[in-house]
Every structure is written in structure tokens, then in C-alpha cells.
């Protein structure tokens, strides 16, 4: 188990190194010089050169790469080209919105999907199953921003239970902040829950057809006991994979939802930075997202091993 964990950790470090290089190269070779973009098309070449020097764009690429990576390792992400404020601070502010939102949405989708998937699988082909399948069909098909607008319409405008958007900040208290994140989290969670329910159901159904379930029933276990004590854990592997993928998506993929609810999240930051050619911010956020994906994959790998002894002995 320890060796497996170490191996996965080593692969995490390697992936990070490779992806930082790729991100740096891709963004650096992309056309468009931030300095001339910031100064406009009529700028004098000397002014552009001066700004390039100020931004540190004139040193060789390889040095800039190491400066960038070294900075990130010490928490110094550099200064935003546009706002002249530390990128680390900008990202941290946004992360305080996006990260709780992603975790909140993931928790909701898991809480909905597990019982729904288990329920549907245990009543395969019966009314309950068909109802769940129908609901997930809808959940997958309807875009999340539409859910978001409907939620605003019902719970903010008509019932006035929640505000229609904005984020008061964590200074407003834990519950105040969570309340502001509730509608966005639900709209993000519903489509994810629909997908997860389907994965849970089909994975369970696969396992329910396995020979060892028959062995369990032959021991005298009821259908329900066999499902809980033999099928569930075996069905988790594909479900964990999807959960891992969903988390990475939720962290930055919520840009439309952030727009609908006026949330100062990471998605918005990336969007703004791209339009403003604020390369250093884009680089840093992308790197952060890559890091989160790799980290989540690492955690998912560890979870696999916890679930399946066959992986541990490798």
C-alpha cells in the first residue's frame, strides 16, 4: 500500500513538472505581446521595450520559466500585468469563493446521486427505476444556467428565501456565505448528480450480475444485504473516477453560473485575464487548475486502493 502511494505521489510530481513546462511554452508561443497590447497600437517602440523590461519579458525564456516555477513554489506568482497587484492575492480571493462552491456542489451531487443510484439499481425495470432514469435524462439534458435562472426565479424572486446573486464574503459569517452559495451550488450539482446517478446505477447493475452476488445470496443474505455488503464497494471504482473528474470541472467550469449569480470566482478571473492578455494571471490560474486536477487524481488513486485490494498489492 505504501509503495503504491509513493508511486502515485512520484507520478504526481512528474505530471506537475511536465504540465508546468507545457503551460509555459503554450502561453509564451501564443501570438500577442502583452506589453504592446497594454500600450495600444500607437505606442512608441521605446515605450513598449521599457514596459517589456519592467514586466520581465526581455530575459531569456528558460530563465523566466524557472523564475515562474520558483516563484510559485514560494507562493509568489508575480504581479498582474493589468492591475499591478500580486497574482497570488487575486487568485486567493477568488479561490475562497470557487473552492467552497465546488466542494459544496460536489457534496450535494454525491448526496443526491448515491441514494438515487442505489435505489434505481435495486428496483431495476420497475416504476421507481424508470422515474429516476427519466429525472437523470432531464438533468443531463437541461443546461445548468437554465436551472440557475429557474432557481433564482422561484427562490429569490418569488419566495425571497435567497438573494438573487452576489457574494457577501466570508466576513459576513459562515452561514451568510454558504447561503449565498446555495443556489449556485444546486444549479452546478444537479447535472452532475444526474450523471453520477447513472454511473452509480449502471455500475451497481453490472456488479449485481456478478457470480459473487449469487454466492452471497446462496449464503442466505437477503437481496438488500447482498447489495449493501457485497455490491456497493465493488461498484465504487467507476463512481470515484467520475467524482474526481467532476471536481476539477466544478472548480473552474462554473463560469456561466458565476456570471448568473455575480460571483467573483476563478472562472470569471480567467475569462477577464484572457481578454486582457494578462498572461501571468492566465498561466497561474491554469497551473493552479492543473495542480488541482492532478491532486484530485492522486486522491482518487488512493481511494481506489482503499476500495480494491487488488490495486494495493501492485
Amino acid at each position: 500500500m505504501l509503495r503504491y502511494a509513493l508511486q502515485r505521489f512520484l507520478s504526481l510530481i512528474l505530471s506537475l513538472a511536465v504540465s508546468s513546462l507545457v503551460i509555459f511554452l503554450v502561453i509564451e508561443v501564443a501570438p500577442g505581446d502583452p506589453a504592446s497590447y497594454m500600450l495600444g497600437i500607437n505606442a512608441q517602440p521605446e515605450t513598449v521595450a521599457a514596459l517589456r523590461a519592467e514586466l520581465g519579458l526581455d530575459v531569456p525564456k528558460i530563465e523566466r520559466y524557472f523564475a515562474w516555477v520558483g516563484g510559485m513554489l514560494t507562493g509568489d506568482f508575480g504581479l498582474s500585468y493589468t492591475y499591478r497587484t500580486p497574482v497570488a492575492e487575486m487568485i486567493a480571493d477568488r479561490l475562497w469563493v470557487s473552492l467552497p462552491l465546488a466542494i459544496y456542489a460536489l457534496a450535494l451531487s454525491t448526496l443526491i446521486a448515491f441514494p438515487a443510484g442505489v435505489y434505481a439499481a435495486s428496483r431495476r425495470g420497475r416504476t421507481g427505476d424508470i422515474a429516476v432514469i427519466g429525472a437523470t435524462q432531464l438533468g443531463v439534458a437541461v443546461p445548468n444556467f437554465w436551472f440557475a435562472m429557474m432557481l433564482v426565479l422561484v427562490f429569490a424572486i418569488n419566495l425571497r428565501w435567497f438573494s438573487a446573486g452576489g457574494f457577501p464574503g466570508w466576513d459576513a459569517g459562515f452561514f451568510g456565505a454558504m447561503k449565498a452559495l446555495t443556489l449556485p451550488a444546486i444549479s452546478l450539482a444537479l447535472p452532475q448528480a444526474a450523471i453520477l446517478t447513472r454511473v452509480m446505477r449502471s455500475s451497481l447493475l453490472d456488479i449485481l450480475g456478478e457470480d459473487f452476488l449469487r454466492t452471497a445470496r446462496a449464503k442466505g443474505l437477503t437481496e438488500r444485504q447482498a447489495l449493501w455488503s457485497h455490491a456497493l464497494r465493488n461498484a465504487l471504482i467507476p463512481v470515484l473516477t467520475i467524482i474526481g473528474l467532476q471536481f476539477s470541472f466544478l472548480l473552474a467550469g462554473g463560469i456561466i453560473i458565476e456570471q448568473v449569480f455575480f460571483l467573483p470566482g476563478l472562472g470569471r478571473l480567467v475569462f477577464q485575464s484572457i481578454t486582457q492578455r494578462d498572461l501571468i494571471v492566465v498561466e497561474s490560474v491554469v497551473m493552479l487548475l492543473v495542480f488541482s486536477v492532478i491532486l484530485v487524481n492522486f486522491l482518487v488513486d488512493l481511494a481506489y486502493a482503499a476500495v480494491d485490494p487488488r490495486l494495493r498489492s501492485r
Binding site: 512520484l10 454466492t215 446462496a218 480494491d308 485490494p309
Partner: protein, 537 residues
């Protein structure tokens, strides 16, 4: 007093009748075999005893197990009976155990479900019973997971699960079909001992008449959902009345007559072949460990010779087959067909490759279901530079389908329209269509029922007469190899340990492994002798 009485059992699935008026009984301490070919309803009969039946099943008649009326029992009553009064052992030990729970846990669960025993007590009981079935806890700790055990060991765990509560009846559904012969012999011995020791009744379901003949007190023969004949084993072996029983017995001892083979001239030469695999790395910087699947194998297959290759699973038979076919490169030695190497400069040699064909085991998995038979059997044409087209192609299709006993019209049909035996004929037609010099049969009849198997073997003998075939027949089934080969190679752990004329190897084995292998094969007692000794004859 019977332990199990089944009377006039009728079973239908979604309205389609499957079992008709099945009657059967098992007394305490008795071993009763239910035999028949696939689809005869023997497994469903067994499952009816615990009512672990597929959805949509309708059951009527009487199934009386001790005091319990199974047909009328509630779900709760059935859960009380399963595991406690009836234990079940299934065919496939590789998948019968939950891969994510320890063996101790899974064995103890039977106790925990049916009693108020503490977990520690249940584990102690599990340890004792695992020891009894041959898995002592000093070598096989309870904390092992199923993937750490071999097939035979897993089947022992499944047996432990089934008998831990000393059930009155043990149902074993093809318990040894997936196992090698030597392991099969051990498992059958174990079952026999347990029946004697615990006074259990044993209902064993098997298609293998030789297993039945050596184990059972009484035999029921089933066909298309009905019991066609039953009786004491000795009596039934000597005096079976029903024509189907006769067909079954004759098919399982079926011997074909091969035509004499031409004068020897080497066709396939395998010289000092070694095939090594790298195992997954366990340490990052250490070199990966290697496993030698085939070591220093040499033999020659003469033109017109029918050569057999036998050995247990994992001995390297299939690896060697792939190497001969040029599907994988070897790490040592050389393989030549008609004097030309099958591999040149790390690439398979197409000129040689087109002179060989192969027939695989699984008649269901080895065809693309979306293509018609005519397209399927002309697949080897990809190997030719100038394959026949138009009328020539149609003629070739018709010829090879006719050669394997099908009609040329079958070429327009899809593969799912054919039975297992017919599919295997189509696989042979596919191999024949480019008139190969050598055909490899890799377990080609292992998945077939005895009567179908007999027909396919007969077809092989016919084809030998018409086409002067040379083939390498790879099988774990010794009786089949004995029937259709001139010479036999015995393989153990990657090496050829014995070779010689088939009759000699079988009648007078020299190597200890060959002796053990041959001694493990269950045999149907000779009917002639049976008739003489049987008082009923």
C-alpha cells in the same frame, strides 16, 4: 425418508417452459448426479432447490427440502434455508468470491447471517473449516483476498462457505469444469470425503459423464428440460435404455479413425524457443522481473502429421501457439515453417503467415457479429496478394462451407443464427479457405457439448482424408487429444517434458508429470466389463 424431493417440477421463464415434470430425490449421505448437455435444464433444476432463479421465473410442483416446502416458502424462510440447510458451490471459482473482501470474512459471513455468534467466534469457525477443506491458516491466512489464490484454492473457499454450517444438502453446479484435471481430481476427492464425514446429501450437476461415473450413487440424465432416464450409476452405465443416454455415453468416449499419414518431411520446426515476459515493475529503478513462459522448446511437426500439445492452464501452451502464429516475437530460438522463419527482422513474415491458420476455443467470441458468414470466412484473404474475386471467391466460399458440412447458402447468414457447434464449423471453414499447410487448433472443442464435440472431431478426421491436413491440436482435454492426434507433446511450466506417439504416451507415460496428468483424468468404466460384472445385465 428423502432429504430432497422434487416432484413434477415445472418451470417457465417469461412464459417459455423450461423444465417439464422433473422429479428427482436425494437421500441423506447420497451422491446424486444430474447430467445432460447445455440447455438441458440441469442448472435451473439445481437453482430451484434454493429458488435463486432469474427474474420472471414461474415455478410449480413440489420441492420439499426436509421440512420446508420450497415452492411455497416466503423470502424470509428461503433466506433461512440458504446457507444453513443447503450449501451451493458454483462453476466459476474465479468470479464466485467478492474480490474486495478477505476469504475469512466471506466464509465467516455464512455463520454471522444465520446465528448470533460474535465476529471472533465466526472467524474461528471459518479458520477451522478452511483448514478442513485444505487451506490451513498458517499458509493461507484468513486475511488473504481471493486474487491471491489459485482457481482450485478459490473453489476450496467456496466449498468452505457452503459447508461451514453443516448443511443437509450440498448442491455443486459444475464444480470442477473450470479447473485443470489434477485439481479436478483433488476437488472431487474433497467433496466425496465431506459427504461421508458430514452425512450430507450431494447433488452434483455436471456435463462430464466420466466425473459422474466415478462419483455418483445415482444419475439423472436430462434433456430439453426433462429427466429422460435415471438409475443407480452402475446399472445405468451398463443398461441405459434411453437413446439419448446412449448418444451421450457414446459421444463422450468417441474415438475417430484418422487416415494413415504420409512419409515424414518436416513442415513446422520449432528450435530452442524461449518466450519471456517482463512483469510490471515493483521498484522504480530496479530492472523489471521476467517470467519465462516458454523455455527451450523444440519439436518438429511433419507434413501430414496430427500433433497434440497437452498441459494444464498456465503451462505455456497458448504462448507457444501465439509464437508459432507469428503474433508475438520470441526471445530465443527459431520457428520455421517449410524452412522459412515466421519472424524476420522483428516483423512477422507474411509469406509464412499465410500458410497457417488457427481455430480458437470460443465459438461465440471469435467472430465479428456484424459481418455475414461469407465475409467472415474470407478474412484470411487479407493475407493473400491476389485474393480470388467474383465467381472464384463464391466458389471458394461454397467449397469450404460444404467441406465443413454446411450449405453454401449459409454464407448469407449472420453468425448469431448459428449454434456453438456450427460456429466452430464456420471457424474451421475460415481456416480452410486459403488451403493452409498447417492449422492450429487452440482448445477448439473445449467449449462444446460432448455430442457436438464428437461431430466436430469426426469432421476433423474427414478433413484429414480430403485435404491431408497437418495440424497442431492444443488442448487440456487429454481424451480428445488421444483421439485426434498421431503424436503428443506434454508441456509443464514452459517445457516439453515428454513426447512420443500418442498411444504410447497415454498407455505408458514416462515422465512423472504425464503420469499424474493421465491418472487424474476421470474415466467412464468400460461398458463391456460393466455388463459382465453387473448382476442386472
Amino acid at each position: 425418508m428423502n432429504l430432497l424431493t422434487i416432484r413434477d417440477l415445472n418451470l417457465s421463464i417469461h412464459g417459455a417452459p423450461i423444465l417439464r415434470d422433473v422429479s428427482l430425490n436425494v437421500a441423506p449421505g447420497e451422491i446424486v448426479a444430474v447430467t445432460g448437455e447445455s440447455g438441458s435444464g440441469k442448472t435451473l433444476t439445481a437453482l430451484s432447490v434454493t429458488r435463486l432463479l432469474p427474474r420472471g421465473t414461474d415455478l410449480s410442483g413440489t420441492v420439499q427440502l426436509g421440512e420446508t416446502d420450497i415452492v411455497g416458502a416466503s423470502d424470509a424462510e428461503l433466506c433461512g434455508v440458504r446457507g444453513s440447510d443447503v450449501g451451493m458451490v458454483f462453476q466459476e471459482p474465479m468470479t464466485a468470491l467478492n474480490p474486495v473482501r478477505t476469504i475469512g470474512d466471506q466464509v465467516a459471513e455464512t455463520v454471522l447471517v444465520h446465528s448470533n455468534a460474535s465476529r471472533a467466534e465466526a472467524m474461528e469457525e471459518a479458520r477451522r473449516i478452511l483448514e478442513r477443506v485444505g487451506l490451513p491458516s498458517d499458509r493461507f491466512p484468513l486475511s488473504l483476498y481471493p486474487h491471491e489464490l489459485s482457481g482450485g484454492q478459490r473453489q476450496r473457499v467456496v466449498i468452505a462457505i457452503a459447508i461451514i454450517l453443516r448443511p443437509k444438502l450440498l448442491i455443486a453446479d459444475e464444480p470442477t469444469t473450470a479447473l485443470d484435471v489434477t485439481i479436478q481430481a483433488q476437488i472431487l476427492d474433497l467433496l466425496r470425503e465431506l459427504v461421508r464425514e458430514f452425512g450430507m446429501g450431494l447433488m452434483i450437476i455436471t456435463h462430464d459423464l466420466a466425473v459422474v461415473a466415478n462419483l455418483a450413487d445415482r444419475i439423472y440424465v436430462m434433456r430439453s428440460g426433462e429427466v429422460v432416464e435415471h438409475g443407480e450409476t452402475d446399472h445405468l452405465l451398463a443398461n441405459h435404455k434411453h437413446p439419448y443416454t446412449r448418444i451421450l455415453f457414446e459421444a463422450s468416449r468417441h474415438q475417430v479413425h484418422l487416415p494413415p499419414r504420409p512419409a515424414p518431411s518436416p513442415l513446422l520446426e520449432v528450435r530452442g524457443v524461449a518466450r519471456r515476459y517482463k512483469l510490471p515493475k515493483t521498484r522504480l529503478f530496479a530492472p523489471a522481473a521476467e517470467v519465462e513462459a516458454v523455455r527451450d522448446v523444440s519439436f518438429t511437426l511433419e507434413r501430414g502429421e496430427r500433433l497434440g500439445l497437452v498441459g494444464e492452464s498456465g503451462c505455456g501452451k497458448s504462448t507457444l501457439t501465439r509464437a508459432i502464429l507469428g503474433l508475438e516475437e520470441v526471445q530465443g530460438g527459431e520457428i520455421m515453417l517449410g524452412g522459412e522463419p515466421v519472424f524476420t527482422d522483428h516483423n512477422p513474415n507474411l509469406a509464412v503467415r499465410r500458410r497457417m491458420q488457427v481455430v480458437f476455443q470460443d465459438p461465440f467470441g471469435s467472430f465479428n457479429p456484424r459481418h455475414r458468414v461469407d465475409r467472415l470466412i474470407t478474412e484470411p484473404y487479407y493475407l493473400l496478394d491476389d485474393p480470388p474475386k467474383g465467381a472464384g471467391r463464391a466458389e471458394a466460399i461454397a467449397e469450404s462451407l460444404t467441406a465443413v458440412g454446411l450449405s453454401p447458402d449459409d454464407g448469407r447468414r449472420y453468425i448469431h443464427e448459428f449454434s456453438g457447434g456450427q460456429r466452430q464449423r464456420i471457424a474451421i471453414a475460415r481456416a480452410l479457405i486459403i488451403k493452409p499447410e498447417l492449422i492450429l487448433f487452440d482448445e477448439a472443442v473445449s467449449a462444446l457439448d460432448v455430442s457436438v464435440r464428437a461431430q466436430i472431431l469426426e469432421l476433423l478426421a474427414d478433413l484429414c482424408r480430403t485435404y491431408a491436413l497437418s495440424y497442431l491440436f492444443i488442448s487440456h482435454d487429454l481424451s480428445v487429444v488421444r483421439s485426434v492426434t498421431d503424436r503428443t507433446l506434454v508441456m509443464e511450466a514452459g517445457r516439453i517434458v515428454e513426447s512420443g506417439p500418442t498411444a504410447e504416451v497415454f498407455d505408458n507415460p514416462q515422465h512423472p508429470y504425464t503420469k499424474r496428468l493421465i491418472a487424474s483424468v476421470p474415466r467412464i468404466p468400460d461398458l463391456q466389463i460393466m455388463r459382465e460384472v453387473s448382476p442386472n445385465a
